[in-house]
Symmetry: C2
DNA sequence: CTGAAAGCGCTTACAG
DNA sequence: CTGAAAGCGCTTACAG
């Protein structure tokens, strides 16, 4: 099929060693032989076989990325940056959608291990789990692993997490400043990240609303579930005058639901989202949102991977500060 | 580092051939030796080296995917399905964000060629270009290549395209049925796909609005550009009473702009998007949108790749029909 | 400056 | 049922 170093060597009447030297730009080659070989290489569109190269060099130039569902924007944004950055340094990314079921994860780790990836990035707090920890210790015990927005303690694992707990606490503080009397919290599902947000909400209520009963709801992931959860919550607790949603997308659904119920935002009910995504800019009214700096988290992940691969030291666990972006829903 | 077939062979006091046979589940192995080896394999968490295997088997079990920007939802949805489907059949996906600049594309093709991918998927009509065609003929002349929503003629290239021309024509027909007098068309940038939509609009005007001057605008990609393009278009042509946007996201921005201008949707201006994405469900009012079946396009791409890899024949070019999903913006 | 040789980790006829 | 041997495409001491 494709030409090999051997074909080129035969045509140039030299050994494969010499061709290899030219391909890899080593300097101990006679200029004339070099240019002769270079010409042949170009003429036949020679491309080195990375598998063969990797075998002898013990490096695949591949990096694994695991994500539960590539369709979720928060993660896609991060992957975009990571792939760009790593790609610029000669690495290719092997990306898998693992789903949320922990039991399926081991086989992805095995597959990545077979492909001899040189580093692994885990996108999302959900991977902060025992099963993942064990899988990594069994199959990838000695390559750098970076978790975006999560962490667990293992010798080769590094974490970069968004300080969503204090961020959500800040959201409650904002609501209190604005004179809101009864904030609630609604999330789609329980993940380590969402639990942090919930904890932040709970802390906030304790601190700023010592006299009210906190209200937290878990809706599920579908648009309908979010819609009905918002509706029921508002009916059961008519005194709620502000809602923090665990993600902008949920908040966007909430906005629709509240409109359908005849509630005005922000006059009757204030709404805050999390992620500061494009949903926040496009919704009506535009959405006040907690920017959890997931983009920064990913940038940092990419840089840390690169640093670790070149043998540098990197903090085991880093915390990234969040920031509220105020728009018109509060 | 990792245990090899050789380590296992030594411990089991057999040859590497026998270990290989056990690993690959061949049946000509003595049950006792087999179970002894199996035990060792499990104990040491043996994982075969895919690069070595690939070298001798001439198969990398990797498939390349090229996309301009993984953050665009229409493509992400497709990639999700493709990765799932291909993964279920033992293939891993090497995904690259290539950007829109054609001149950078060749190096991605070279990189994929180095990694000896067994098939290539191009996500988006933008890759329907001479530069890409040449790169493929030079570096990947003999593996199956499938373009999602595009096509060019080369022996190993297959295309699956959404019939957006007729779809957009149908949108104009709908507007005409609803008694609209003056439809306009706004797109972000020129891609083969967007040009199809524009052509569909133009055909529609010729057929259903023989007396009006068609109005087509190219806005650019940023939210601000879309906003201002909509605003200017409405000011310059106050008689416009309906707009077809080349994507839901643009339409969502348009909805905001029209609201800011004091125009009611759909009373004053009807709006149609394309993609039938979550933006269409979440905007206020909900958006009537042309479903271009990009998901089906991707499903078909995945299936065709699998078929081609197993030696079956597949149509060189397929057309997928579109469908208007009516909501409340018309 | 150049080539013969060994080896990366695996598979598969071939012979026994 | 099992092993010695060759080979996939490459790189790199080593000797000249």
């Amino acid at each position: 099929m494709q030409v090999t170093i051997y074909d080129i060597a035969k045509m140039a009447n030299v050994s494969t060693s010499t061709v290899s030297r030219v391909v890899n730009n080593k300097d101990n080659v006679n200029p004339k032989t070099r240019s002769k070989i270079l010409k042949l290489l170009a003429e036949y569109n020679y491309v080195p076989n990375e598998a063969a190269r990797g075998l002898v060099m013990q490096s695949s130039h591949m990096i694994g990325i695991l994500i539960t569902d590539i369709r979720t924007t928060q993660h896609t944004d991060g992957i975009y940056y990571i792939e760009k950055e790593l790609g610029a340094h000669g690495y290719s990314c092997l990306i898998h959608n693992t789903g949320v079921d922990e039991n399926g994860w081991v086989s992805y780790i095995q597959s990545l291990s077979q492909h001899k990836i040189q580093a692994l990035i885990l996108m999302g707090s959900i991977y902060q789990s025992e099963i993942m920890k064990n899988a990594i210790q069994l199959y990838l015990p000695s390559i750098p692993v970076v978790i975006c927005n999560g962490y667990f303690n293992a010798p080769n694992v590094y974490g970069i997490v968004s300080d969503e707990l204090n961020g959500t606490l800040d959201c409650v503080a904002l609501l209190s400043e604005k004179g809101r009397k009864h904030p609630a919290f609604l999330m789609n599902q329980s993940t380590p990240s969402n639990e942090q947000k919930k904890a932040g909400y709970l802390n906030g209520v304790t601190r700023y609303y010592p006299d009210i009963e906190p209200i937290t709801v878990e809706s599920g992931n579908s648009i309908d579930q979010i819609h009905f959860a918002t509706e029921r919550m508002m009916k059961e607790h008519p005194d709620i005058d502000s809602i923090i949603y665990s993600e902008d997308m949920l908040a966007a659904v909430g906005l629709r639901t509240l409109a359908d119920m005849g509630k005005k935002v922000p006059e009757d009910v204030a709404v805050i989202g999390i992620n500061n995504s494009s949903y926040a800019q496009l919704s009506i009214p535009t959405l006040t949102s907690l920017d959890n700096m997931l983009y920064d988290v990913s940038m940092t992940a990419a840089r840390n991977i690169l640093a670790l691969l070149s043998g540098q030291r990197v903090s085991k666990k880093m915390l990234i500060c969040t920031e509220i972006v105020e728009r018109h829903s509060v």
